[in-house]
């Protein structure tokens, strides 16, 4: 498949031309979905479904986790890539009204890199998984550093696009190194510039998310933060930061377009992302520092670790948890501002005919990139790499015997209390031989 039937038709009608960048990105995103769902379907069909129907009494949890995270990591890029599509096409255009994307070729390269590198990385969610050989975890860790590269490329390209566009519009900052950042319309009600607040607040949060992501990806530093609140700190600034803010902004924009309604409460709409940003930043700080001090995730800490009546009480975590309440309230207020605008728009009467226009930046550098035209070889390569990177750990959690051949432990003894099956067999053989 060189693309969908829709895009192939586009190529026939416009031979030699590249598929529009937004289509390229969304198409790759949907292809990735089809690939990443495979391990999830295997887990659901062969493990979760039989278990919940009572057809089997037990399943292999290591295998379940390995299959889940084989899906669970690529899915975060499935969430991220649409946000990147709008960062490349919409943001540079609306920041001045006539801005440009610095490099179209860089953007396409980014999407291809995600297609390849989103998959062979899932073990970084399982660095403490017993029974998976540490060298396989290290290989996935190295690929995870690899998948950070397209995000860094995006950061560069978006910043370059902003710089080019701002300096075109405001020649007085043409020679400035950093001051041009001040000319970005962070809070503006002019035309479509209100969208800029969603993109910029999201990007500032994502910067923090990227750094905490590098910590999580590092096999050794991960040992400090695994299962702590550091991890939700990370993903609330990524999916709960850039992705959600871009989605909220673009949803409001498309709602207004497709229903022919004027955006209501635009002032609230443009302020919302900054409240969200402030709240999420404080939340991230509290979760990260508390996490480094051991504050757990996925636990009702209120009845235990933060309860002065409990023997588990940890007073050193109290301040961070209380800070996260304050932060959470800020985030909710930001969301309410946006929701008032969204539902206010939805419930207002239409003022014009419904339409669809997407402000799209033209590229400043429009490189040919012939190797990235046909998707099929890249899709095949990506699927093969996915398979090869997962065969060794799948072998570990199934055949190598960790699940079925573990020695027996209980919580009273630091050493095994029963021998594994295979040890019992070989002892029997030795006894018979004597």
């Amino acid at each position: 498949m060189t693309g969908s039937p829709t895009t192939s038709l586009g190529r026939r009608e416009n031979p030699g031309q590249k598929v529009p960048l937004a289509v390229y990105g969304m198409l790759i995103n949907h292809i990735m979905w089809v690939i990443m769902v495979v391990p999830l379907v295997v887990e659901v069909l062969f493990q979760l479904l039989p278990l919940s129907l009572g057809l089997v009494q037990e399943i292999n949890p290591s295998l379940a986790r390995t299959l889940f995270w084989a899906f669970g990591h690529p899915v975060v890029y499935f969430w991220l890539l649409p946000a990147y599509v709008f960062l490349y096409t919409v943001l540079p255009k609306v920041v001045t009204g006539e801005g440009k994307l610095y490099s179209d070729g860089a953007a396409r390269l980014v999407f291809i890199l995600f297609l390849i590198l989103s998959f062979p990385v899932g073990l970084h969610h399982q660095f403490t998984e017993p029974g998976v050989t540490s060298s396989y975890k290290l290989i996935h860790a190295l690929f995870t550093f690899g998948v950070a590269v397209p995000s860094m490329l995006t950061a560069f390209t978006v910043a370059a696009s902003l710089e080019y566009s701002i300096k075109q519009k405001y020649p007085e900052v043409k020679d400035s190194l950093f001051y041009w950042w001040a000319k970005i319309p962070y809070i503006s009600l002019e035309g479509n510039k209100w969208l800029v607040s969603y993109f910029m607040a999201g990007l500032f949060l994502f910067f923090v998310g990227g750094i905490t992501g590098i910590v999580n990806a590092s096999y050794n530093m991960n040992q400090v933060v695994h299962n702590t609140s550091f991890v939700p700190g990370h993903f609330h600034t990524t999916v709960g930061g850039l992705v959600t803010l871009v989605f909220l902004g673009m949803s409001l924009y498309f709602l207004s377009q497709l229903t022919g309604k004027e955006i209501r409460f635009k002032g609230l709409a443009v302020l919302a992302p900054w409240l969200w940003w402030q709240g999420m930043l404080i939340f991230e700080y509290a979760m990260s520092v508390a996490g480094m001090h051991g504050f757990p995730r996925r636990t009702n800490t209120g009845i235990s670790y933060l309860n002065p009546e409990s023997p588990l009480y940890r007073p050193e975590w109290v301040g961070y948890a209380e800070l996260s309440v304050f932060a959470g309230v800020l985030i909710v207020v930001g969301f309410v501002f946006w929701a008032v605008s969204f539902f206010g728009t939805l419930l207002s009467p239409a003022v014009r005919e419904a339409e669809l226009e997407i402000p799209t930046a033209t590229p400043y550098h429009d490189e040919r990139m012939p190797a990235l035209q046909k998707l099929t070889p890249w899709v095949v390569f990506s699927s093969l790499l996915f398979l090869v990177s997962y065969i060794p750990p799948l072998y570990d959690v199934t055949k190598r015997g960790v699940f079925f051949d573990s020695p027996g432990y209980n919580d009273k003894s630091p050493v095994p209390i029963t021998k594994p099956q295979s040890a019992k067999e070989s002892e029997k053989q030795k006894a018979e031989a004597q």
Partner: protein, 147 residues
């Protein structure tokens, strides 16, 4: 560009529905910080237990909301950029938008609210009811038709 009424209604539904769900998802997020800081000192509030609320916050926000909205954006992008390329073709097929995603999303949400069986997050533990995963499952059939 002008958009045909049917496809426009489908896309608007694909935007509004996840946003409505997001309201509940964010409510559960607020509950999370209140529980974890000990502002709430119980295991449940309003009939929803801590771990159910946690699962709802994660699944509504990160699985249902994101995926349906991404499908909406996919429809929008394909419609806008490719329709422009096909002006000469007259009535080009609108990208297919399958509506049966929504029943899965609804089912998944109602199911989680209703049943008490979900205590543990799916990424770590096997025991989990089937229907919420219909969301993921259903989407697998959704995406190829989009292409």
């Amino acid at each position: 560009m002008k958009v045909d009424k049917t496809i426009r209604n489908i896309i608007v539904a694909e935007i509004v529905f996840p946003i409505v769900l997001l309201v509940f998802g964010i409510y559960h997020g607020l509950m999370q910080v209140l529980y974890r800081a000990g502002v709430i000192k119980d295991m449940s509030v309003g009939g929803i237990e801590y771990y159910q609320g946690l699962t709802l916050h994660g699944v509504i926000n990160a699985i249902v909301f994101t995926t349906i909205l991404i499908v909406a954006f996919g429809n929008i992008v394909f419609l806008y950029y490719l329709k422009k390329a096909f002006k000469a073709l007259g009535s080009m097929d609108q990208p297919c938008a399958y509506v049966w995603w929504h029943p899965y999303g609804c089912m998944g949400y109602v199911h989680q609210k209703g049943k008490r069986a979900i205590h543990l997050l799916p990424s770590s533990y096997g025991p989990l009811d089937l229907l919420p995963w219909c969301c993921a499952f259903g989407s697998w059939f959704y995406n190829p038709p989009l292409l």
